[in-house]
Amino acid sequence: MSVLPAGDPTAAVLLPHWLSEDDRAQLAAAVRAALAEPGVHPVTAVHLADVLTELHVAAVRDAVWPAPAARVRRVTGWADDVLPVRLSAAELDSVLDAAVLPAALRAALGGRRP
């Protein structure tokens, strides 16, 4: 039995990072700042732009299909504004390498989960 996604076999696996609204705002601000740096590597810039896209897509997922995240929040006791933000390994590395993140957010993204 395969644990890879059933669709495109070349698609990167995206892992969820459960972030509060504040975390997501801080992440978006840090990524925008990193993108504005003149020396940002073009590949890193693509990954960072994808992170910004994912922050919007995460909110859309919760608007269209609220039940799965709500179940997790109920079980864990997390606040209502905590959502799964799904990032590929390359996107996560770009954020951790290029963006200046608050320590708590860096720990939340770097660890396997709070």
Binding site: A11, T53, V57, V60, A63
Partner: protein, 254 residues
Amino acid sequence: MTPERPGRSRAGLLQRLRPEPVTVEQVRAAAAAVLPGLATGGLRAALLRDPARGPVLVLAEDERRVRTTLVDLAEDMTDAGVAPTAAGVAAALTDWVGARPVSDAAAAASGVAVLDWTDATRTAVGWQVVVRRGERAVAWTPSDRADAAVVARTRTSATARAADTGGVLRVEGPVALWSHPGTPVLASAVLAAPGRLLARIADAGLGLQEPHVVVTPVRPLACASAAVATRLAGETGEACVRLPWARIPDLRWL
């Protein structure tokens, strides 16, 4: 020998596990209170006596007839966990009347085309005609009397109404969300005029490259460029259908 535990009665525990039953008398009282207000337009409701089965509730609207005994209704309400109070039973009975089949005339007069799953696998969607009843929308199944011409006319009118159903557009970064706040099932009606929706999205400031729509019946529609739609739909465990804009007109009737 196991000593008796004081204060623990087996019957008491069972009683707590079983829902308190809705009685036939409560349904009869609710019918007397609720039905006169609901029987408007072409809908008629009557409580008949059946010597063998007890009281029978009959709804009649155009060619459609629904009959059920009050005993069955009370049992169904009990199974559904309806509160055995006057208000609870009245609300459940109102719901039951609201779920009655849609007549051909009602579908022709007020049907709206929306998307629904083609089958239980929830992997494809198709059009169907629904009629709004308050916040609920009930699907129309053509009666035996409705010939192909009647079905075609009803579907054409429902498609025209669908294009004008309205809804709320919200832009979330690279995604446009389209929802119908009053009746969620009507969100997909807007796809009866996909060009108009795309123009509205553009007016809202979002130009989509290779536009796609992610459809989950009864949920808001998500419209985005191909890559973003793939990211959105590929990473949800929920059933949904991702369609290129050009394929929306190919969707068939259920």
